[in-house]
């Protein structure tokens, strides 16, 4: 990785610093999340804890989104399908047979059984990954924009089917009775896991190859890279985490409704990624943080703000409106997002700016215009 490190003696301390430097981004991001969780936990405020848990679940979702979109440059529009699949799968595995009998008519193996939550979560995450592998084989061959549209078609199909699949999903109604166990700590654990996996993926040759296809597909092919295969890998890994986000959501709210996995959350998750900066992991996390904070603020304002004895209340829809304006502003003035494709900077030495591949840039001024 770093040429400077190759000249120093190979003591344990030096190796530790090298490891620290290599994993700097996910370490810092995890510590940040941990710090937030600890502070909120110590304060004992249950309401904020729920908000933070929600934000951490969104972090898993957006990191999943980033793994594919950030590296491939293909703006997948249908990713929420995987969250939908994961969420309902978690319900099928973990709800008690008694509660299932109220709303659903499942095959015997699911209807009469109730499986432990952790293995269920894993399987519920693998299911959308499997779906992604299957639909991805043909879809990843399509050009960027056609692939985006095709993923949206996949979402639309699943959304429509699940909305009408009364016996398995309770149709358009809210399915309740899912065991609730996700709190801040569990959501944090998954978020940290997602950060490390995403980071490691982008350091591997697969991540690198995929980023090359994002930059110039023609040159990437000439360089020996099989574009559909590389995209498929990221697509499947990404689907797993989005499935997990669905699982976490199900076990956090204790309920599911198909309508919650449609355009609203699609837009919100994309907004978070783009505002934060779609080309880096730090961008994904920053995006979730910033947008969640803003949404929370807007929600407070919507609920009513007191100014000098008068309560200002904004009508429903204001949150989304504010978010829509924000995203348009970001896209116009800073299309690369807040992080602009950079990861957490390494604070020591002169090479501070870190790109997704882990390399630092020595000089970053653009060549003068006139190319």
């Amino acid at each position: 990785m770093s040429d400077a490190a190759m000249d120093r003696p190979d003591t344990a301390a030096v190796r530790m610093v090298a490891v620290l430097r290599f994993f700097w981004t996910p370490i810092v991001l995890s510590l940040f999340a941990l710090a937030v969780v600890v502070i909120v936990w110590a304060s004992g405020d249950g309401v904020i804890a729920r908000t933070i848990t929600d934000a951490l679940i969104r972090t898993v979702l957006v990191i999943g989104l980033y793994i594919f979109i950030g590296n491939s440059g293909v703006l997948a529009f249908g990713h929420i399908a995987f969250m939908l699949i994961g969420g309902y799968a978690a319900a099928w595995f973990t709800m008690s047979p008694f509660k299932k009998s109220f709303a659903l008519e499942l095959p015997a193996i699911l209807a009469n059984n109730e499986f432990p939550v952790f293995p269920s979560a894993i399987v519920a995450g693998l299911l959308p990954a499997l779906v992604a592998a299957i639909v991805g084989i043909p879809i990843m061959r399509l050009s960027g924009i056609a692939a985006s549209i095709a993923t949206f078609a996949v979402l639309a199909i699943f959304y429509t089917v699940y909305s009408n699949w009364d016996s398995w999903t309770f149709g358009a109604s809210t399915l309740v009775g899912i065991p609730i166990y996700v709190n801040m700590w569990i959501a944090l654990a998954w978020a940290v896991f997602a950060m490390f996996v995403a980071y490691i993926y982008q350091q591997t040759k697969f991540g690198l190859a995929l980023r090359a296809t994002r930059e110039d597909p023609v040159a990437a092919r000439a360089a020996g890279i099989n574009i559909p295969t590389q995209r498929l890998i990221a697509f499947v890994v990404s689907a797993f985490f989005m499935g997990i986000a669905g699982v976490l959501q199900a076990h956090f709210l204790g309920s599911l409704i198909v309508n919650g996995f449609w355009l609203g959350i699609t837009f919100l998750s994309l907004a978070m990624l783009i505002i934060g900066g779609q080309r880096s992991l730090t961008g994904a996390v920053v995006g979730v943080t910033v947008v969640s904070t803003i949404v929370e603020l807007l929600r407070q304002v919507e609920a009513g703000v007191e100014v000098g004895g008068i309560t200002f209340e904004l009508p429903g829809g204001f949150q989304e409106l504010g978010l829509a304006v924000l995203i348009i502003v970001v896209l116009i003035y800073r299309p690369a997002g807040i992080m602009g494709g950079l990861e957490v900077p390494w604070p020591f030495g002169s090479n501070r700016r870190v790109l997704a591949g882990g390399f630092t840039i020595v000089r970053a001024e653009r060549a003068p215009a006139g190319e």
Partner: protein
């Protein structure tokens, strides 16, 4: 039996016409800007709500909606042309050189903006408004009952298509638009004013949206802030099916989707029928996989090595 088939056929063509007009609105802008305007459905929605401005009462009162037909039509068209041009100026012009996916998100954001704006002002409850209710009356052709509205929809669509073709082939600005669709940079180098061509595309798009809004409201009699969503989704499907970048493809796609919709609804057994939306999306997925460039491939979109 023949009666049912013909009635269904008219249904299908009428629905297809609405989709075709919507798809055209999307296709025109895609042609000159490579932007898929998801907010187009919401332009339609805004046009529909313009009928009751400024009444925000629960029982909606028609304001513009109560004016005589020609003035009503012209007013709504004007409103939407303004909305479309404003959107272009504020949201899309600064992003003109951006990635198509960025443009797509922007249009998505604009769509959200418009929906929530209307939501804030008019609340989420759908409103019933009677627009030209006598048009639902069927006329009798032999044994077949065809709602007048369907006939009007189909004829208006045909008329607009003919006008549009003449516009694109015979007028100076129309030819410039076609040139810009083929190769924007080259057209600009040859003297075509990019801003003007794009503005015209948006203006026509606004006009088409207005027509669809009126026909759609006359047909369904309701307003809801989300009414544009299914329209834009299906029109989007139509554009993809027909081939992105091709206007004839958009029209063709619109009719294909309209017909497929009605056909699926008619032939599927009752319990599967609810999933007919899924079938339509499944159709585009299939088409995309078999022919990624859509039914009418456009050379201009292929990259040179």
């Amino acid at each position: 039996m023949l009666q049912t088939i013909i009635q269904n056929a008219v249904d299908a063509i009428s629905l297809g016409s609405l989709f075709a007009l919507t798809a055209l609105g999307i296709g025109l802008i895609f042609g000159v800007m490579r932007l898929i305007n998801f907010a187009h459905g919401d332009f339609i929605m805004v046009g529909a709500y313009a009928l009751i401005v400024p009444s925000a009462a629960d029982a909606a009162m028609m304001f513009i909606g109560a004016w005589p037909a020609p003035i009503l039509v012209i007013s709504i068209i004007s409103v939407l042309i303004v909305v479309a041009l404003a959107s272009e100026r504020v949201a899309f012009r600064p992003l003109r050189t951006a990635d198509p996916s960025i443009l797509l998100i922007t249009s998505f954001a604009l769509s959200f903006f418009l929906q929530n704006l209307v939501l804030m002002v008019y609340s989420g409850r759908p409103k019933g408004i009677p627009l030209w209710p006598n048009l639902i009356q069927p006329i009798l052709v032999g044994d077949i009952r065809i709602p007048q509205l369907h006939i009007i929809t189909i004829s208006v669509t045909l008329g607009l298509l003919i006008l549009l073709v003449l516009f694109l082939k015979r007028t100076a600005i129309g030819i410039q638009m076609r040139a810009a669709s083929e190769d924007f940079q080259m057209a600009r180098l040859l003297g075509v004013r990019g801003n003007r061509v794009i503005a015209v595309a948006f203006a026509i798009s606004g006009l088409l949206a207005a027509v669809v809004a009126l026909l759609f409201v006359a047909q369904t009699g309701t307003l809801s802030y989300k009414m544009g969503v299914p329209l834009v989704l299906f029109a989007f499907v139509a554009t993809v099916v027909g081939g992105m970048g091709s206007l004839s493809g958009a029209v063709l796609g619109g009719f294909v989707v309209g017909i497929a919709s009605v056909v699926f609804q008619a032939i599927l057994p009752a319990d599967m029928r609810l999933n007919d939306d899924a079938w339509v999306f499944g159709l585009i997925l299939l088409i995309l996989l078999v022919r990624p460039t859509g039914l009418v491939a456009v050379k201009a979109l292929q990259e040179r090595v």
